[in-house]
Symmetry: C2
Subunit: 784 residues, 2 copies
């Protein structure tokens, strides 16, 4: 817990010792300044005094002397200041400042023990799941000074380069200085060795040259420490009169790239086991490896922040509509699509843009889900963003940005910058591939992907996906040639008219599925039948409605009447999912026919097909049965299936009632897939589209530890998931169970999925490696 | 199962027997006609033949003869017809029509046994929960004929008047006739006695006069049967040559009024016990007793049907807006408010109108809930209704109805009539009061009411409510003087502005609560803090928005911006309930202050106050804790409470997550109240406002046995209710648990509440007696 608990430096000083120290070091200022610091720190930590009174005295003194920096105060002035400090301590606390070093020591030890219960430490333990009753030790170290002359130095070093992971001692130091000076940045530290050279320190002389023996020793001990701790170390050292002291060592923070490099090279050298190597890289780091990120040197002060909806870092001019984005793309101009929120009509613009920025919507809003699916950078729900479409500009936190001006967004942090910020590229290299191969040896959970297109599928397969866990068929309906037929279908007045429109869609759907089956080459493909309410397929703009009326040969008012008759107060809880399939069986019929016919076509060509037909939004077993019968009828009508073509029929568990009656449903179903997005919405009674107004405050106020749309809520939603899993397996021991909500790519949620024994998780293509690693880590930890 | 299984009449006839019967009766036509009927019935029931071929022959014969009625066909023609029938049977079935009476009998017995599995019987058993493996007996009765001469007769009688319940044999008969003739309505039946006289049969001579000995015997045996079966009987009898035969007896269907009268008089006579008397009146009958209903003599062909949202039967001219309804009321003209759906803005119109008719919305839509609360007749969700506001007319199933024209609606059946239909008044009499007193001795569940006004509260108390189970405070915000302050509050930009607006509402709220406490006189009063999203308080019409902008001194565009910023995609899952109370604590603060100050004021005057402060829509225990702390602070700020004033703090369980974590919540809460409307919505993922589009089809298709908003879904929603009850009691054994959703007034749901051990149910005032009876019945049945 570095920095979380208290410490007292320079302990043991009193006026006699200070005089001696001044003499020994030949630096009176240094000696009295050390005493001044000790009094301040002791008063604060041990005597629990408000030390701002002392700060004020220090400031007043500098003002009287007409100087700006602490280190310009002379020895005599510091001596008087120390005496004044001690008087103030007496006045404020009623305690005479102790001169006996032993008394100082015992009291300090006590205070450090007590700091186990300071709010900072309590919070830190809470965040890191460290038990409160673990307790602490107190280290007592003798002080060493790196500033007793030119044979002294102080520095910070890593046992490897923390940016790249390359082997070799890496760090900086200052001659004749104390630790604080390195941090304060008053003097520019010099590189330890040539390996540590950079643009800023290149003029300094290296420790290797200046103090060869100490450097040699540092190098040896760095090796030793790394071997002992079996991890790359972050070390603070001081050289006092030529003698090397280690102040502190701990596992080093490192970039994603370094984490991977270190893990792989320590594994190669035999320093750590495969399991340890796997645990050394965090899932978040794997994610970072797959996407570019902003160069920290240039990305300092963001203009605003939104939700980190989909990772990556991109710059571009702003595009305020899908059409604009498409036009810019044609002119080869990078752009960011900026919208209040996106809708399926924006898909073409999302494809054309480098990234997406929205003012509304949460982590599972349309923009976020689609962007993650595409592996496209997205920052969502930026409340500081105002879009003035009619004025052709946007305002971000007060900054007006017109078209042609560039912005930069970073999807892993949600940061937004005006202008262009340089980025660091991703590193999807051999090291990464070998690491992931090792990872796969240890995981139990299978990892599939949520993908609707052959392109996404191929990306996901490259990332190691073992099949499709969720193919959302509705996205296939938005292609320009198809949406017209879909709209015709919606405006049909009879079942026959509806069937005629659907027949037009059949060849497209069949082709879609055939391509997916081909790409998957026998890996399972879970296809969800149409889910969204029909009104999502209708245009919302007046001009588009007019166009539609012309195309359909009906009046605008007829179109509007139909649109308004489809309006729902709570579309999330409305006429969608299998409810549509029951009201209009012809819709599901055409989809199932497309799946079955595509499967047979591909199967004939010698490619295996494992297709899962998924019925969405069931709340009763009767719904499932009805549609299953429809599906079986279509499958049976094709005669005996070839042995390399299989169709399974299962359902999404995405409503509390479906989870509750899982035992019954399981008797009828081949598989379950938890739709935890919707299940979270209904379990919490919380619309993801509307939650932006209060959910962030809820997390801030600690009402919710985390956004339940990001990390599965174990206690509530998890109860239902577990209930359904346990009872589903009782109802049908052979049932195959996975999860396809956004949680399928979240490491904490994956832990849960492993623990309750799901068969697989499914996530967007770019999260597949994250999920693979998380699944391996939880398997390894569970075996401990 | 009368009519559900098969029967074969006139069995035993063959040509020889028919000849003998013709001779004996002296009526050849009768004898051959009996044979003709037997062949038809036997072919249908026993030989499973499609008898339409026989029907056609009968029709052809009549056409050839140039006659219209069956009974005009002569004996000879019937004889030929019988022979032709038998030939057809042989051709169609390959079976020679059996002449041996024994063979006929055995085959008929078999067929009747098999009819246990006909679809009609299966459906009937399903509806009435009769087990399929119960099996049946087959009765073999010798035929008697009431048409062998003028010393024969046939009739139907009840042991009491089935309309009023008055004691005495009541029924009609025909001399020289068969049972069919009474039913067919060809001849007008005569009254059995003077007691049975009515407008239609008053010219007939009574059986008592015509066949005194048989009548006397009938009377004696009626008495005997009623005593034996301990219930009023519905009897079919035949007199053959002066001898009385009983064909059938069963418990008689009766009107609500008769059910009550019969139960009370049989109880008084000692024929049945109190428990039996209670079980003799159904909760639906109690409901009918409280409301007028349409006179069945005049209410034959409805124009359309909607949902039976709130009982009663009323006529009036149509009012298409709340203002119109109010104007008509001022002119003393009865009107029906006809709306697409109602919103809180329509309340004044709902109060003014005699009844409400809506085109959209389900059983728990705004119109339905508010109407039930008011005890006002309502038919909701009539899809055959089109409202043309600009043309000042409505169209019901093709019938144009202009203003000034009357319509009639019946809320217990959902029927809608063009024009005025006479009604039968309710009977809230002494018999009813004594019956309900007996009922209360047996029930375990307490019964409270959902009421927001002193008027509703007084109605409910008159009906036996034991307190308020749900006072919806938002309804109090819609009064004209208050809504302005509420809207100011919504448009406030700072907490202080918001507080200032709320201070204006405080005195009104305090007065509201004081009046409720006074009316309740110490009975518990559960008050729910503000629940709906803020946008519900804003006007929706452009003109009202303009008015509001003027009043608030802001531009229309500012108003519109605020309105659109409050827009939600799924308001049901949005920023409402305690989420509002957490975002704007000042709203709940003012409400709690109003409750506490009103309680203390009334307490001081010597009236006891038992107030329950209910926090809506919690999904986490932290939400509950936060608002509980706010409430405790306000209560504590008033110093020690007098002993006659109590405040409890609890929560609504209306989201699946709240039910799941009930054990934790219970540790903090004094009470739970299940909000099963919302819990049903979230458990099923089904918006009640939108469910009208497919829920009726779901019920029709048997996907759902019943509308889950009407009758609690035991398997799904009930699982959560039971889970929360069991775990809530583990978390806090003293917790008090009730239900306040619409299900609180539904007998089947009340059964469930009793079985899982809730403390009380709460329902709209007019359903309180229904709930009391249902609670007593389930308690009695559970003790069996």
């Amino acid at each position: 817990m570095p920095g979380m608990m208290d410490t007292v430096l320079n302990l043991g000083l009193n006026e006699d010792v200070v005089e001696a120290l001044a003499k020994q070091s030949g630096d009176e200022r240094f000696a009295w300044d050390s005493y001044r610091r000790f009094i301040q720190m002791y008063a604060n930590v041990v005597l629990d005094m408000n030390t701002s009174l002392l700060e004020i005295q220090l400031e007043d003194l500098k003002e009287d002397l007409g100087i700006k920096e602490d280190y310009d105060i002379g020895g005599d002035d510091l001596r008087s200041l120390c005496q004044s400090f001690k008087r103030t301590v007496l006045e404020e606390t009623g305690i005479k400042f102790p001169t006996d070093p032993k008394e100082q020591l015992w009291r300090a030890i006590n205070a450090v023990f007590n700091s186990w219960d300071n709010p900072r430490a309590i919070k830190y333990r809470e965040i890191n799941n460290i038990p409160d009753d673990l307790g602490t030790a107190v280290n007592v170290q003798s002080m060493v000074y790196g500033n007793l002359g030119s044979d002294c130095a102080t520095g910070v070093c890593f046992t490897r380069n923390p940016s790249t992971g390359e082997a070799g001692v890496f760090g900086e130091y200052l001659i004749n200085a104390q630790g604080e000076d390195v941090v304060a940045g008053i003097r520019t530290p010099a590189p330890l060795n040539k390996f540590s050279l950079n643009e800023i320190n290149e003029n300094g002389e290296t420790l290797e040259e200046q103090m060869a023996p100490a450097y040699k020793e540092l190098q040896n001990i760095c090796d030793l420490l790394e071997k002992h701790y079996r991890d790359m170390q972050d070390i603070e050292f001081t050289i006092e009169r030529g003698k090397l002291y280690f102040l502190q060592t701990r596992s080093a923070k490192r970039t994603a790239k370094a984490a991977l490099k270190v893990a792989m090279s320590m594994l190669e050298s035999g320093a750590i086991s495969e399991q340890e190597a796997i645990l050394r890289v965090s899932p978040e780091q794997v994610e970072a490896l797959l996407h570019p990120s902003l160069d920290p040197k240039y990305a300092d002060h963001e203009t605003a922040k939104g939700l980190p909806a989909s990772p990556g870092a991109v710059s571009g001019v702003i595009a305020l509509s899908a059409d604009e984005a498409v036009e810019l793309k044609e002119q080869n101009i990078d752009c960011i699509l900026v919208r209040q929120e996106t809708s399926p009509e924006d898909i073409s613009g999302m494809v054309a843009a480098k990234g997406i920025l929205t003012a509304r919507g949460g982590m599972t809003s349309h923009a976020a889900v689609v962007a993650r699916g595409m592996g496209k950078t997205c920052v969502a729900g930026c409340s500081a963003l105002v879009i003035k479409e009619d004025e052709n500009l946007i305002i971000i936190n007060g900054h007006e940005i017109s078209k042609e001006e560039k912005i930069t967004i970073e999807g892993s942090t949600g940061r937004i910058f005006v202008g262009e910020v340089p980025t660091i590229e991703s590193s999807f290299d051999d090291d990464f591939l070998s690491f992931m191969e090792i990872v796969d040896k240890y995981r139990v959970l299978r990892v599939r992907t949520n993908a609707d297109t052959p392109k996404d599928t191929k990306t996901a397969l490259k990332f190691g996906a073992e099949g499709i866990g969720l193919c959302r068929t509705e996205h296939m309906f938005f292609e320009p040639e198809r949406i017209q037929a879909v709209r015709e279908m919606i405006f049909s007045k009879t079942t026959d008219e509806r069937k005629a429109s659907l027949e037009k869609i059949l060849p497209f759907q069949k082709m879609d599925f055939a391509e997916l089956f081909k790409a998957l080459d026998g890996k399972p493909c879970n296809i969800r039948l149409l889910d969204p309410p029909l009104h999502e397929f209708l245009p919302s703009e007046e001009s588009d409605l007019k166009k539609l009326a012309e195309l359909m040969g009906v009046t605008l008012s007829e179109i509007k009447t139909r649109v308004s008759s489809l309006h729902e107060f709570n579309p999330m809880l409305g006429h969608r999912g299998c409810r549509l399939g029951i009201s209009y069986p012809e819709i599901y019929e055409i989809q199932i026919r497309a799946i079955v016919e595509a499967g047979l076509e591909i199967g004939e060509k010698g490619t295996s097909v494992e297709s899962e037909i998924m019925i969405p939004l069931i709340s009763t077993v009767e719904e499932f049965r009805l549609i299953k019968e429809l599906a079986l009828e279509i499958i049976d009508s094709k005669g005996d299936l070839p042995s390399n073509v299989n169709f399974k029929i299962g359902t999404m568990i995405e409503l509390p009632r479906a989870a509750i009656i899982a035992d019954e449903v399981a008797k009828e179903a081949d598989f379950f897939s938890f739709g935890t997005n919707d299940l979270t919405q209904t379990t919490f009674g919380l619309s993801r589209d509307d939650s932006g107004k209060f959910l962030p405050a809820y997390v801030e106020m600690d009402i919710l530890k985390e956004d339940p749309f990001v990390s599965l809520d174990y206690r509530g939603v998890g109860f239902l998931v577990e209930h359904a899993t346990v009872n589903g397996r009782i109802g049908n021991p052979k049932i195959h169970i996975g999860i396809c909500g956004e949680h399928g790519g979240d490491p904490k949620s994956i832990n849960f999925c492993h623990k309750i024994g799901l068969d697989y998780v499914s996530c967007s293509p770019y999260r597949v490696p994250v999920a693979r690693l998380a699944a391996a880590q939880v398997a390894i930890k569970s075996n401990d």
